[in-house]
Symmetry: C2
Subunit: 520 residues, 2 copies
């Protein structure tokens, strides 16, 4: 089991067992008092809608965060310090808020050893209303887990999704995550990991790169050139100093003074010296101005000097929309300068910061964690929560999620049903609309080339029963899944809505439960 | 020095000295090779514009994050593990990227002991282009610090600012931070702290509350009622169970089934029993539907049952705009139900989650860290960075920031000038426009009731020379500063632009430097 190699520690109170909302603890005490706290229950983690970045909305998400969650769950337990903090708390009348018997129980059982977990693996394409994680275990612990689980998974899914969109918009060219300075405090580390899963090739964040076994990447800042200028040197001398120290990794930021009249010509002079000494100059970086225009003009200057392979790194508030527009402009204008736009696009590298790590436009994934089943007298019974809006009613019971592929090998729909349903025994597969019990679509078995179950067991009977894949392996899964998406679903703007349907049985049970509760 | 009581640790690589961008390390090696690495330099941290939430933009910010940054700076140092990671890195030709002499130097000097820091205290109102932090020290360390400093300060300022706006929109009623589940991984802890500084009275985040010495606050979730229903109990029995365990802290979530026909009547029945036993029911919570309408109708039901003091907690995607609209509606409609809108507004409590902790609309503060001075031959000389846009040129040199108050005691302008300028000696104060060297405004000394310098020394000659205030003291400063803002500057939408001006000397030196560099 690879889990032993994980390095994360949670020694501080604020990153330990009490990394949760206060109401989880007060509810747990109510359950304890009622003798319900060890009742077996099931919570499902899912999101209800794709991130909506304002003028554009995602058509798919990329799953991420699972390994870090499980690592935290395995290492965290209610400590003596936690005990003392809760013991000291008083309520409105000055009496202790938490009682000694409950705190003693927490001391013994305040951990996640008894939780069973089924999950959709990291890197997979995921859609709304699908159970990404199914948590089963004693009520008190399962309830207290909610906050940390949502905190750790929602953000990584959000960023992996944004990174995937940016990667696709950039035609899968090299992409570097540069956002730590604008990340939300230590969340920047989780953001960097999610970016690596979703679409970034490397991150500039040195510490997390080493923890994840990736080399960090970077160029240099304007301050280097500015400092040299202040000390009486020239831009070329600043470039030369950088090239002398990093002759085989030389990327020069050319826009401090004047990109086309100073930066690029100076870079070329330095590159020529590198070349003479047998080194291969790596690239230039553009960080301001009209990036499409400057990329074209810089490429022209580099080509004329014989540096056709030198990369052009673009940065400055990049996201999928900006990159799309930059590429559009390059395709339209490169020819006018005698350049082949495809070759130019292939030498571009994207440095993506703020707009990736904070998911500008929609900085939160609305992932939720809902009670869906309760074990009564040894039998798991579905539990339903009513809501005025049909979309807010979680699918009840012990579910599975399947993905169906058509004869082109493209994912045609995801199907949510019960764990014991067997798709292979069905003559045709009915895909019922998730909210409208009148609507369905039927797929004949010869229209389906393959189906697969997306949930895998992760925690079972106190053990980790899942071999956590490397980030490289997660990326492989991501690429496969994205290739199997219809291009309509991948559209940047107004994507085709991917079908997430219900089996007939799930639809029926849900409707029955709703009728029952409404007539109660 | 209070600093010794700080508890934060940074044992992981990704939260230690290497919590930085890779290019800071490569640049540091260039400086090392050039013999510039111990050159004394000054970097200023400032932001260029207020957060812009799309349809509305802030008119002021609240400073936050300093104590956590300084704590991190004091505890962090380049470790043997960091050494090994950097030593293993290879460049494009397979050679080591970092050289042994540089790594050995990092081993000795890879810490922030030689950094001097002047800062604007936490809780203060701050504006664009003001030096929030002035860092002075050896070039290499000052450069490497950039990433972590920006990461830790930008986010807390962003959230403290949002929290202040929400507090003001809610007429300074009780406000609870509920957002940990939507925060960006561990960033949620910094977000909770910043929310407490900027406007939240409490947070639901249990761990960080204990670390900061605050009691966490919460109510209960829908899942409590749902669970009781699934196990065959009623909503009233769920409420009763909660009331039995927390008789003096009873806040009931009334919208699981039907707010007005089930939730509130059931809550009233439970409250009546509590009252008979001598307890004081605390509140109800509304988490869905038309919160203004439901607050009015619930208040009416509670009043009719004799519970006029019971609080009404509102939650569900709240932010300053939603709260403003809810209060507007209550003011218009409460009278129609025979309620006094002011009394109703005074019993409201706001539970604010996603939209605060992620600063929806603008999830990143564009704080930057720019080289502004270099010591040459024992003399500090201003350093300037040119840019095509005048607003992007940092103010050079060793500056101070003053705040000027008019005869009403309101802040009338902030003035950026040089550290050795003495406002008290000026007969009148000239406020020069930051970018237009033709524009100025003159204040006579009798128009100014007070002026104060905003920057205070924090780190000096290897020591902490600042007594970090408690969060309560920080809030006191915040309230004072906000009261001294003109109400136009506090407007939610289209606020009056607060003047941040330059002294004549700063304006002149900046213009001279620009001319010099442009003619070079």
């Amino acid at each position: 089991m690879k889990i032993n190699s994980l390095k994360k520690k949670s020694s501080r109170i604020s990153e330990g067992f009490l990394y949760t909302d206060q109401y989880q603890l007060t509810m747990a005490q109510v359950y304890f008092r009622m003798g319900m706290h060890e009742h077996q229950v099931q919570f499902d983690h899912f999101f209800r809608d794709y991130p909506d970045y304002g003028v554009h909305k995602a058509g798919y998400c990329i799953n991420a965060g699972l390994e870090w969650l499980v690592d935290w769950m395995r290492n965290v337990r209610f400590t003596d310090t936690d005990y003392l903090h809760l013991k000291k708390m008083t309520g409105g009348a000055g009496n202790p808020l938490f009682h000694t018997d409950f705190l003693d129980w927490l001391k013994k059982f305040g951990n996640y050893e008894m939780i069973e977990l089924q999950s959709i693996p990291e890197g997979r394409v995921i859609h709304p209303h699908e159970s990404l994680n199914v948590v089963r275990g004693p009520l008190a612990q399962s309830q207290i887990l909610e906050t940390a689980l949502l905190n750790m998974l929602n953000y990584q899914i959000l960023i992996a999704t944004k990174a995937s969109r940016i990667r696709e918009a950039g035609c899968r060219q090299l992409m570097l995550e540069f956002g730590v300075r604008r990340g939300h405090d230590r969340g920047a580390n989780a953001g960097a990991r999610a970016a690596l899963i979703g679409g970034a090739d490397f991150t500039s964040n040195a510490g997390i790169s080493f923890e994840l076994g990736f080399p960090p990447k970077g160029t240099h800042a304007h301050s280097l050139v500015q400092l040299f200028l202040t000390l009486g040197y020239t831009e070329e001398e600043a470039f030369q100093a950088f090239a002398d120290v990093f002759p085989d990794d030389c990327i020069l930021l050319v826009d401090t003074i004047d990109t086309l009249n100073s930066g690029v010509p100076n870079a070329i002079r330095v590159f020529e010296k590198l070349k003479k000494k047998g080194h291969r100059p790596v690239g230039i970086r553009l960080d301001s101005g009209d990036l499409a225009y400057l990329a074209i003009r810089s490429a022209k200057q580099l080509n004329d000097a014989g540096f056709k392979d030198v990369k052009i790194v673009l940065s400055n508030e990049l996201d999928e929309m900006n990159i799309w527009q930059i590429l559009k402009q390059i395709r339209e204008e490169a020819g006018g300068y005698g350049l082949d736009s495809d070759s130019l696009i292939k030498r571009l590298v994207y440095g993506v910061g703020t707009r990736l790590i904070t998911s500008v436009g929609d900085p939160a994934l609305g992932g939720v964690y809902k009670l869906t089943a309760v074990r009564k007298n040894g039998v798991w019974e579905p539990s339903i929560k009513i809501s005025e809006s049909a979309e807010k009613i979680p699918h009840p019971g012990q579910k599975n999620v399947w993905r169906l592929y058509d004869n082109r090998g493209k994912a045609t729909a995801d199907l949510i049903g019960y764990r014991d349903e067997d798709l292979s025994r069905m003559e045709s597969i009915e895909l019922w609309h998730p909210y409208d019990p009148e609507k369905k679509r039927t797929l004949k078995t010869d229209e389906i080339s393959a189906s697969e179950s997306l949930l895998v067991p992760v925690l079972f009977q106190g053990n980790i029963v899942y071999d956590f894949p490397s980030i490289e392996a997660i990326r492989f899964v991501r690429d496969e899944d994205i290739q199997r998406l219809d291009s309509g679903v991948k559209r940047l703007i107004n994507p085709h809505v991917y079908h997430v349907s219900l089996t007939h049985r799930l639809m029926t049970i849900k409707q029955d439960l709703l009728r029952e509760i409404q007539h109660a």
